[in-house]
């Protein structure tokens, strides 16, 4: 089954994948929803990657953002709330040739799905996970989410949220993910860049995208939108060019440095916080188990294996 991990090559010469081909149902999102821009950027990413059409999988849990797969014309699906990651792990480990993308919201990923994020990430299952964080429950019409700031008035916190929210970037770094980045739905090129790097990463890659819910949390992310008076700060990555100024740049392999980025005051910085190219994927580790076992049994056929085992139980 699981052959040793390799990202499959671009499609053979033939009709290239275009946005047109990749477009499915018309999105049911509210006009102005940030998720439109994420969808557009994803089309662009797939255009650049040119994977074989049939080997792309787009999966999601439940939420406005999780409706994503209906709008992308690839193999894919819509699972139950908060559990898309373990399902996607099965896809990734079940067939090495696939390129697996998971989309979801802050409630789906950090509330009900919080534990699956940690365990799928620490195992470094090869897939790319994009969280569209609007700091609210959109589909269920405005309840507090784990990223809603204190004081935000919702239907479940009419007097304003009182529980300390999670720090999403810190949570993602702690999860054990080997690629962790942050972007913004108003910055299409930036989204395309980081999603592209995430897709090319050989391991569990996750991108948190601030994506405004115009219906229930207008202006949530203005602080990071220049044309709304906000500040847009990019992570200044090391160029490894030996220059003195490079010394102060961010080393994406430095966990403590990444942790400090996550601790910055709102709205913080955007870009790649952390990247670990060394750790083996679970895909590779399981493939090694198979290789070792098959060597031990001298590549015996399934039939021979079963008969030998039963002979020992006579």
């Amino acid at each position: 089954m699981s052959s040793v991990a390799t990202l499959s090559a671009p499609a053979p010469a033939g009709t290239p994948l275009t946005k047109k081909i990749l477009t499915a149902d018309h999105p049911t999102w509210c006009p102005g929803c940030g998720d439109f821009a994420v969808l557009h950027s994803f089309y662009r990413v797939l255009e650049k990657l040119q994977y074989p059409h049939e080997k792309i999988v787009t999966f999601a849990g439940i939420g406005c953002s999780s409706r994503f797969p209906y709008f992308v014309n690839t193999h894919g699906g819509h699972y139950i709330h908060g559990r898309a990651l373990p399902f996607a792990a099965g896809i990734s480990l079940g067939n090495e040739d696939l390129h697996v993308f998971v989309f979801g919201g802050d409630g789906d990923g950090f509330s009900i799905g919080g534990n699956h994020l940690v365990h799928t990430a620490r195992k470094n299952v090869r897939l790319t996970y994009v969280i569209m964080d609007n700091s609210v429950y959109g589909l269920t019409k405005k309840q507090t989410s784990p990223t809603s700031p204190i004081g935000f008035k919702t239907k479940t916190d009419p007097a304003g949220a009182i529980d300390q929210p999670i720090n999403p970037m810190r949570t993602l770094l702690n999860s054990g993910a080997t690629f962790v980045a942050r972007s913004h739905a108003t910055q299409v090129n930036h989204m395309i860049d980081v999603m592209l790097r995430a897709a090319k990463h050989d391991g569990f890659s996750v991108v948190e995208i601030l994506s405004e819910c115009v219906e229930f949390y207008e202006g949530a992310f203005d602080a990071s939108i220049p044309r709304k008076g906000g500040t847009w700060t990019l992570v200044d990555e090391k160029k490894h060019d030996g220059t003195p100024e490079d010394a102060n740049r961010h080393d994406t392999s430095d966990e403590v440095a990444a942790f400090k980025l996550a601790q910055q005051a709102w709205p913080g910085s955007f870009g790649v916080f952390y990247e670990n190219k060394a750790r083996k994927t679970k895909n590779a580790l399981e493939a090694e188990l198979v290789t070792k076992a098959r060597e031990k049994t001298k590549q015996a056929t399934d039939l021979a294996l079963l008969q030998a085992t039963f002979a020992r139980m006579r």
């Binding site: 699906g77 373990p86 099965g90 480990l93 198979v290 049994t297 085992t309």
Partner: protein
């Protein structure tokens, strides 16, 4: 010495000559502490029986303390079919006083009590049993030296049991060598020393305790050699034979050993098994595997099954094939984790919200654990549906011997179908059973399918259409009804008409069938129906039921608010037949044949028995 479980056996008279007395089968209960390795004695006897073409069934209790403690291992071996572990023991081997105190009541009058005279003092002048004092501890120490005595005691015991029952010493010695072979030479030597000492002992002491099993030819059988294993092992290998190569789970007793076997075996077959963070992640990962075209398994026991109900509903809605194993234990909640119960049937069928038709099967014995796994995989693939296998704690842990399967005939090739699909491909056609195109398969139309838990149209896209919800609900229901029409007629034993029809499912098959023989023997016209397919039911049950005055459903669960168990509920609802009644119990133990017979007796009226038999039958039913 004749087992009370088989009254019809001709027992030979005691002989001083030392010539063995012929017996049909025997129930030996070893009572000690789990540290004493009495399980392995049982294991050796079981495998010996297997290799001697004898039938065998074992039964053990697991101490509730984590740190081990009092434990028993009961083995019933003999010739011909062994259907239950035996109501009472013919021989009790007591290692400690507490073993004697706790288990002497399980020894039948006239039975043999063997006790370690270094630890046990039997009640003064209790002449119900033949008392045999053996200094097991000192005997072992003398044989192998003080060091590893606890290791030796069990093998020493095996020795004198081999002598008393005239077992095949060559085969036993071979088994012992195989078992300890890996370890260093001393261990094997010590084991053999202990065995020989135990074997030698009785010669000079119990000339009159010497038995031999009747020879019966197994012409009727496949001719393939027997294998011995427990139910969980049989189930795991059944899945492998069915070409299943992927799985995911989370540990829980008594499911764990299935996932442990698969985790160890699957890589050899190019597959993998993932231990997940919880049961929800486990079923999700398994569904992810199935989605890629690789049918997968997940499983658990009650608490874990309860956690899988939401995802299981998704599997029905998305029409994703999946195998779900539930090794039932005592419930509700954490309940009695090391006891047996059959109380998860209703959940298996109705545990998820909404109308979620799915398939539920249950194996009848250890051998059937192997074959039902193969059938479950076939059904899951053919009908693109989740299939639940309800096994239980008793089957999971007991050892039985059965004919080695005919692998060349059975093996299934697991390759998923990644061939391109035509332009007219639809994941959810209204006029055909769903055949998913796994990712990796090109779609001719260029429109790629979506699998989803929302109600959907034929292409898998969400819909709010009342008409489509009606049609898709019918689609999901009708395919299961189609399966029902293909199911084989269920096993029917005994009289095909009469006063009583016993109905069993799962591990109550054996005691139920043995109970049938008992009451038939008493002249009661009765049959026994066993159901392996619990949802959907096979067809034609109504025709069978109408031939009996009373249908008594035997299951290990509660009588419920309205006086019937879970399978009885399903049957009463479907056939609206008041003749369907229940024999249930909730003591966490497998049914004793005598309990079933007593249960039958409660429903019987004089009229049920011919004048001639009335007296005998009634009374003996009550007594037995």
């Amino acid at each position: 010495m004749v087992s009370p479980n088989t009254p019809e056996t001709p027992g030979g008279a005691s002989s001083v000559s030392g010539a063995p007395r012929s017996i049909h089968d025997v129930v030996i209960r070893l009572a000690g502490n789990s540290q004493d390795g009495i399980q392995s004695v049982g294991g050796f006897l079981a495998r010996l029986a297997g290799r001697s073409d004898q039938d065998i069934m074992t039964y053990m209790t697991i101490p509730s303390t984590i740190s081990g403690g009092p434990s028993i291992f009961q083995v019933r071996m003999g010739t011909g079919d062994i259907l239950s572990a035996g109501d009472r023991a013919d021989m009790l081997v007591a290692f400690y006083q507490h073993s004697y105190d706790a288990h002497i009541s399980s020894l039948r009058p006239g039975g043999v009590l063997v006790y370690d005279s270094d630890h046990v003092k039997p009640a003064e002048g209790d002449n119900r049993f033949t008392h045999v004092a053996i200094p097991i501890t000192t005997g072992t120490v003398e044989a192998v030296g003080g060091t590893s005595k606890d290791k030796g005691k069990n093998i020493y015991t095996l020795g004198f049991i081999a002598r008393i029952f005239d077992l095949d010493v060559q085969k036993l010695a071979a088994l012992i060598k195989e078992r300890f072979g890996g370890k260093n030479e001393d261990i094997v030597r010590n084991a053999m020393l202990a065995f020989d000492a135990g074997y030698a002992w009785p010669q000079n002491n119990l000339r009159d305790l010497f038995f031999r099993f009747e020879a019966v030819d197994r012409a009727a059988t496949s001719g393939r050699p027997q294998v011995t294993m427990d139910g969980n092992t049989a189930l795991a290998f059944g899945l492998l034979a069915a070409g299943l190569r992927h799985g995911a789970g989370y540990p829980i007793t008594p499911w764990s050993s299935i996932m442990e076997t698969l985790r160890a075996e699957l890589p050899k077959y190019g597959g993998l098994f993932v231990q997940c963070e919880d049961e929800i992640a486990a079923i999700s990962t398994a569904l992810g595997f199935s989605y890629t075209g690789k049918l997968a398994v997940t499983g658990s026991a009650g608490p874990g099954l309860s956690l899988k109900m939401e995802a299981l509903g998704w599997a029905t809605m998305a029409e994703m094939p999946l195998i779900v194993v539930n090794v039932q234990r005592g419930g509700p909640s954490t309940g009695m984790p090391t006891n047996v119960e059959q109380s998860d049937l209703m959940q298996a069928i109705y545990g998820s919200h909404g109308d979620t038709p799915r398939v539920v099967l249950a194996p009848k014995n250890v051998e059937d654990c192997f074959y039902i796994a193969i059938e479950a995989c076939r059904i899951a693939r053919e009908y693109s549906t989740p299939v639940l296998i309800l096994t239980d704690m008793a089957l999971a842990s007991r050892i039985e011997a059965f004919d080695e399967p005919d692998f060349p005939k059975l093996m299934v090739d697991p390759k998923p179908d990644l061939s391109p699909r035509g332009a007219d491909y639809k994941p959810y056609p209204l006029d055909a059973i769903t055949r998913h195109a796994p990712p990796g398969a090109k779609i001719g139309s260029g429109k790629y399918p979506t699998v989803t838990g929302l109600e959907h149209d034929e292409l898998g896209h969400p819909t709010g259409s009342p008409k489509l919800h009606m049609q898709m609900t019918a689609k999901r229901r009708e395919k299961i009804k189609t399966l029902a029409t293909t199911l084989p007629a269920p096993e029917l034993n005994g009289d095909d008409a009469g006063n009583v029809l016993l109905v069993t499912w799962g591990s109550t098959w054996g005691p139920g069938l043995e109970a049938l023989k008992r009451i038939n023997g008493l002249g009661l016209k009765a049959g026994h129906l066993h159901l392996r397919h619990l949802h959907p039911f096979p067809e034609g049950l109504e025709a069978i039921f109408k031939n009996y005055r009373r249908i008594m459903v035997i299951e290990i669960n509660d009588e419920g608010l309205y006086g019937y168990g879970q399978l009885a509920m399903m049957l009463r609802a479907r056939y609206a037949n008041p003749a369907i009644v229940s024999i249930t119990k909730t003591d966490g133990l497998t049914f004793k044949v005598s309990e079933i017979v007593a249960g039958i007796d409660r429903y019987l009226e004089k009229a049920d028995l011919s004048a001639a038999l009335a007296a005998t039958a009634q009374s003996s039913l009550a007594k037995s």
